[in-house]
Amino acid sequence: MLILHAALVDGAVAVWGEVPFEKKGRPKSAGASAGQLRAALTEGGVAMEGEARTLIGWLPSAAGRPAPSSPLLGEPIALETTRIEPWSIEVIASEDATNLLASVVGKRLIAPGVVVGGTLAFLATAMRFAAALVSRGHVLPSLEQVGTDWFARWIAAPAAGEHEQIASLVRSIPPALLAFGTTNDAPPAIEPRAAIERFLTSVVDRQMRAQTNAPASLVSLHDRWLAALGSADGRLHGDDGELAALRSTLAEWRRPVTEQALFDFRVAFRLEEPAPDADRWTIRFLLQGVDDPSLMLPLSLVWRSDARGADAAAVRRLMKRGRGDATRFVLGSLAQAGTISKAVDEALRKAAPSEIDTDTNGAFTFLVSDAAALESAGFGVFLPSWWSGKGTKKRLSLRASVRAPKFKSAAGLSMQELVDVQWKVALGGEVLSLSELRALARMKTPLIRLRGEWVQLTSAEIEEAIRFAGARKERVPLDDVVRMSLTAAAAGAKVLALDDVEGDAAVGEILERLQGKREWEELPPPAGFEGTLRPYQARGFSWLDFLTRTGLGACLADDMGLGKTVQTLALIQKRWLEQKAPLLLICPTSVTGNWVREAARFTPLLPVLLHHGADRKQGKAFAAKAKKSAIVISSYALLVRDAELLRGVRWKGVVLDEAQNIKNSETKQARAARAIEADLRIALTGTPVENNIGDLWSIADFLNPGYLGSVSSFRERFFLPIQTRRDPDAIESLRRLTGPLILRRLKTDRSIIADLPEKNEMKVYCTLTKEQASLYEAVVRDAQQAIEESEGIGRRGAILATLTKLKQVCNHPRQLLGDRSAIDGRSGKLARLHEMLGEAVESGDRALVFTQFAEMGNILQTHLQEQFGMEVLFLHGATPRAKRDVMVERFQQAGDGPSIFILSLKAGGTGLNLTRANHVFHFDRWWNPAVENQATDRAFRIGQTRSVQVHKFICGGTFEEKIDAMIEGKLELATKVVGTGEGWLTEMSNRELRELFALRADAVGE
């Protein structure tokens, strides 16, 4: 475990690694070595150019060691009991840490066991702030002198609100960032503001410098200065006098922008539309407060020294509050606004500079060109609410009216059916007639007031509108209509958007269901389906059927535990009855066993082929068997490895379980998934797909190839505007496109809670790794002998010992072997737990994990902390009372507490209140239902109204499954079990024991 930290030292960024403290050869030295640090960075895929140095870090220390910064590295120690002491620490220092900082954004770890510390995260935020300044163009070139050398530099030119944000960065800075120096004598004197400003400048300078090209001729001083702005070190040579003069000239030139910081107000412009019967617009000049942006006063009050009233007094107060010449500043600002906007410039020619009176053309120019430029340059700009920033909110749009020529019910309509489409043109809610459109074409202004609302109209739009409005009915396949309705685009329309598609009867039903305006028909469970579907599951199954019949791929994104498996199986069963052709189901290796068992339970009539393991079928044998199966289950790994083989089968459909496995569109498995040809396509995932824009494309493209365009067009159109600007148009557009494809219900949804039992108990069938399987068989072999050759108490002892050992094997080999060997990748249960906890944590849930072995608890805690980079609580028999209470309190508190609590207690922890948990995992089982329930009930509170998901892990094909079956099946056995622990097992005969311990071939998942 290594926590990455950063420090600012002399303008450079020093990165160091905090590791569990070990006394080293050199006294008072701490932290990871430079080599370890580089290895950690490499593991995280981060390149950091820099040199290794040794610096002195002043850290809170106690008892001769630095206090750990996080519970991940040891018990936290209260600051007041520590003293700040110097430690010699190896760092990697670099002037340019942009790569490193960009790669840690939003991540808790960069690799298992390599955690991003608070200082690094803070610096990454500061770096992004600097990048935001650059993206807004709030930077200016300058010239400065350091010692006797001159340097051309880019500096930040923060606008009104940005100064406050810099102040916020300064206030929030973690002291650890400034705790490094070069001497042992005393901690370095620091100045948080200076450190932040220096850092921001260095980032800004680097970003601008990289894009500055030297001019062709380098003769004049000005051109040489420009070249220095883009050169590696920025050095500018020349006569000191000349350079000093240039520096002053530059400072004076920058002044209109820099002096904004001295004033409490700025100049602003507001566009006011004409009264209902008039046609003159006003652009009013205002003073807007910086600290209080709601304060807006007309500029006219500045010019009239005789002005009276509260507003006039407010203006005088504002003007006096600056630390400079307010009038000069206002006049200067107006002058500069005039260089950006011709309208403002003109206004200053005619009357007292307090407003502009203009016509519609002038207003339009202001809206379209001046407003954005003025705003970026630091002026306030206020536009009418009907202007969206790119155009009027109301635009001309198209409407399609669809009729199916023959009378058919929705279920009978095929997507290839031809339907009639009649085009109409609408504005807002109303349809415009052809003559109205022709009248509009005769007007010459770009902005028109139509029925009381302002609408922007280009000649291209009018022409297209007239063309569509005058067109005759078209005949197109229903499939095209559906696509049109989802993408809001009509074929042949270059400029106008398609606003609404409405249809009658059958077509209308389909469209309304897609748009979410009408519930799809709820179907009864198909024949051959065993067991019951909860009401929400029946709705989900019906939705899957409906959507896939319209030719679209469907993504079922229900919360974990709601039964995506069973809903999918119902659909597969229904389609099997219609057509006997195979469907390919791809899932993580750890889940294959689960699917097999669920299918056997709910759809026992479906022939299932599990394509997995070393002895899986190949070539013709595979093709033959697959053709006769309803479902062929395989893993993501084999999707890639056996791609050729899988291509040889005509698939009816393909289902991806845990579809987040293809979220990165570049990976082999994502490509392989997209390459499968099948009409029916379904993706299952428990993670909130629509919130991760970056991951959305790959899944959407798998479901409906080409639906969201190419990766690069998606990036331009959606990813960048949404990720960097929260662009509301892009968000809305994406939601409209993907909404119909995704069905996601949460266990907290009111409509679901009623259908869920208070305790939603589920069995999770896990597999064994090869190593686990061979250990298992070895234990069984040794046991057989011991048991068969002994009797009485000896035999009892041998049986119980074997049970314990087998439990340990099923948990993790390390538990049986008792060593400190590697953890990852050696246990099927652990792999599945990791996946499930990952999903739970991402959804903001909290989980309890029960195990009977303290050892396993340790292994789990170490592994999960390494993998998730967050603190995982672990309570076991030897935990002192006081510490136990603190842990429980921390888990129960709202907000940022730890999300995972491992418990390894004999009685399952009676008396503990852990009701914040909404997941309970039984990693290994008490075969005593009463004890198990007691443990589960830690998460319960009387009168609660939510459902807790209880997951019971069972290694399929092992004794765990068999015992579970026995307990389920034989109630008397259950009553026998209470009170006698596992003693009843010792009463089984040798033959029964042999059967119990036999390992089935399908237990192995690799």
Binding site: S135, A189, A261, G378, G694
Partner: protein, 292 residues
């Protein structure tokens, strides 16, 4: 003296490097009415071919530097001799009572003040000057004193003419320069009109606050939780990217540097830099979403 004019053949100047190049490539030098008025005086002096040579020198960038001080202009011009010629233009400054009268008239009209700051002089400002009985422009040659170290005895010579034309261009850009030349300190005048506090120009940029000796120990004094040392608190910053519609808004707002000597206007040279940098900044910002 007439015979000198025919005696000196036109000489070829040594090419000047890094000199000030006139913006005007052809035709008139000043476009504003006051810039033109300034040049009127020069052109009325009737120095013939030297005006033409002066324009050509100004366009070629032979004028190396220009300094405007109250009452005088000093400049260096590269001629046909290795050593550049020194030019001086002296202008009669406004008397104290003239300045006061002007200030009084301006005080009555903030509109004119604003106009001046937009670098324009409305035609009607002359009425203001008339009322104040002040004339802004030299109306006669006798109000100007010009000298040049070149061997041409004609006064003004082509070197002086070159400087004169460039001044016309700069007056276009900043009418306050004429005021400055006439000895009128506009900033002081505005101050006295408005009664505002004097400004602190040198400190508009870095504002270092004097802080008592701060180090890590002082920063954590009195804190209990380890987080206050290691994590700090959450800064309130807005990481929304700018739109790409106007790449270099501040450059547009500020315009060119005075007496810019670069090959291309500043905005033209640096606008691509701003656009490209904004694009890479966007990539950095896109790596993690703003919370939705």
């Amino acid at each position: 003296m007439a015979w000198y004019r025919d005696y000196f053949p036109p000489s070829k100047p040594i090419a000047a490097k890094g000199g000030i190049k006139a913006r005007s490539k052809r035709g008139a030098f000043a476009t504003s009415w006051w810039g033109k008025r300034w040049l009127d005086v020069l052109e009325a002096l009737n120095i013939g071919g030297r005006l033409e040579r002066g324009r050509s020198y100004a366009r070629k960038g032979q004028v190396l530097n220009i300094d405007i001080e109250p009452g005088s202009v000093r400049a260096d011009v590269q001629g046909s001799r290795p050593k550049p010629y020194r030019i001086g233009i002296g202008v009669k400054q406004l008397a104290a009572n003239e300045t006061q009268r002007l200030a009084a008239e301006l005080a009555k009209s903030p509109y004119f003040l604003a106009k001046l700051m937009t670098r324009e002089m409305p035609q009607d400002i002359e009425t203001l000057f008339d009322t104040a009985r002040v004339s802004l422009f030299p109306s006669r040659a006798s109000e100007l004193r010009t000298d040049c170290s070149c061997p041409d005895w004609s006064n003004p010579c082509k070197h002086i003419a070159a400087v004169y034309y460039l001044l016309g261009e700069e007056f276009d850009r900043d009418p306050f320069l004429i005021f400055r030349l006439r000895g009128l300190d506009t900033a002081a005048m505005l101050d006295s009109i408005r009664g505002a506090e004097p400004e602190a120009p040198a400190q508009t940029e870095a504002q270092p606050e004097t802080v008592p000796d701060v180090n890590v120990r002082t920063l954590v004094r009195g804190q209990a939780a380890p987080e206050s040392f290691w994590e700090g608190s959450r800064p309130e910053v807005d990481l929304t990217a700018g739109t790409d519609r106007t790449p270099a808004p501040l450059l547009r707002r500020l315009g060119n540097l005075p007496f810019w000597r670069g090959q291309q206007p500043l905005l033209d040279t640096l606008e691509p830099t701003y656009a490209a940098a904004a694009n890479t900044a966007l990539q950095i910002l896109a790596s993690e979403p703003l919370s939705l």
